[in-house]
Symmetry: C2
Subunit: 178 residues, 2 copies
């Protein structure tokens, strides 16, 4: 073994990473923030955690509302993911720009996105400051599934086995090849 | 959309999930705990978080030492992952049983595992109780890479595109097909 820079991690062990959108709303404003940094953290009750940078508009909306939706995008949403991940909801209305529709959830104010494979209504139960991101731990109150699920969108590695759908700079989105 | 049970998540959005081993040592005792629940949480400083159930021996060792190693297994370590994930380090010596070797790190007491693709030396910086698991947030102090990396081991979904290496009950380990 030899010592390497942290960035070496991304090349051999950082992908595939599933992509999820944090959808948040507060005071009549809302946004969509694509994230790679998410994990399960409890089975009973079901809980998920996400890491969001404090500068993000979505960080502000989650902090204000204590709620968010986790929407899991499929293969049709690669370019919407790029747009939502590279623009700020402070500057544009991501729903208008992507043409995504919304649906009302049962427990939280933030909208569900029917175009996604699965939507989870989440209520923040705790948070932790970690370096340059904040961890939000949230209870999953309800899960909504699309009737016609697609393949799950992932950040693809450089190795074979992916159908790469969109590549731009740092970003490389695709699905596991069928 | 229709409302579904949380378990539906695993079928359509829970995989592929990369596997990592948390390796911990305290008071001369040590263990290996395979985890699916891990994520990045900071770039500067580099930080990772893991979720570990309080009943786990590794939870006890991390709590006592404030340190762990994250070792990323490749395709050759599917059966070692199953053994380490289904037995407790309180009952067996997982190093002896798997035949894995160890190497000394630079910053933490817990050993590196040279058979893994990448090893990260981690020091706990914070923790958060979340339902039935504890989140440990840790700074990555050093990263060690194997000279001959293999394909990264993942929990495979039911869809095509994986080379499934080992399947037993709930567990389905494999790699992305080349």
């Amino acid at each position: 073994m030899h010592q390497v820079d942290f960035s070496a991690y991304w090349q051999c062990c950082g992908n595939p990473s599933r992509i999820v959108w944090a959808v948040a709303e507060a005071g009549g404003r809302r946004s969509i923030c694509p994230l790679g940094w998410k994990m399960n953290t409890s089975m009973a009750p079901p809980m998920m955690v996400i890491a969001v940078a404090p500068a993000r508009f979505t960080h502000e909306l989650i902090t204000a509302s204590g709620e968010f939706v986790l929407a899991w995008p499929g293969e049709a949403l690669a370019s919407a993911t790029l747009l939502c991940g590279t623009q700020s909801g402070r500057d544009i209305d991501k729903f208008a720009r992507t043409g995504l529709t919304t649906a009302a959830g049962q427990y939280v104010q933030a909208p569900l996105i029917p175009e996604c494979i699965l939507n989870m209504e989440c209520r923040v139960a705790g948070h932790l400051d970690t370096g340059d991101h904040t961890i939000f731990a949230a209870e999953v109150l309800a899960v909504w599934a699309n009737e016609h699920p697609e393949k799950l969108l992932v950040s693809a590695g450089r190795e074979e086995g992916y159908q790469v759908l969109l590549e731009e700079g740092f970003y490389r989105f695709g699905v596991i090849k069928g």
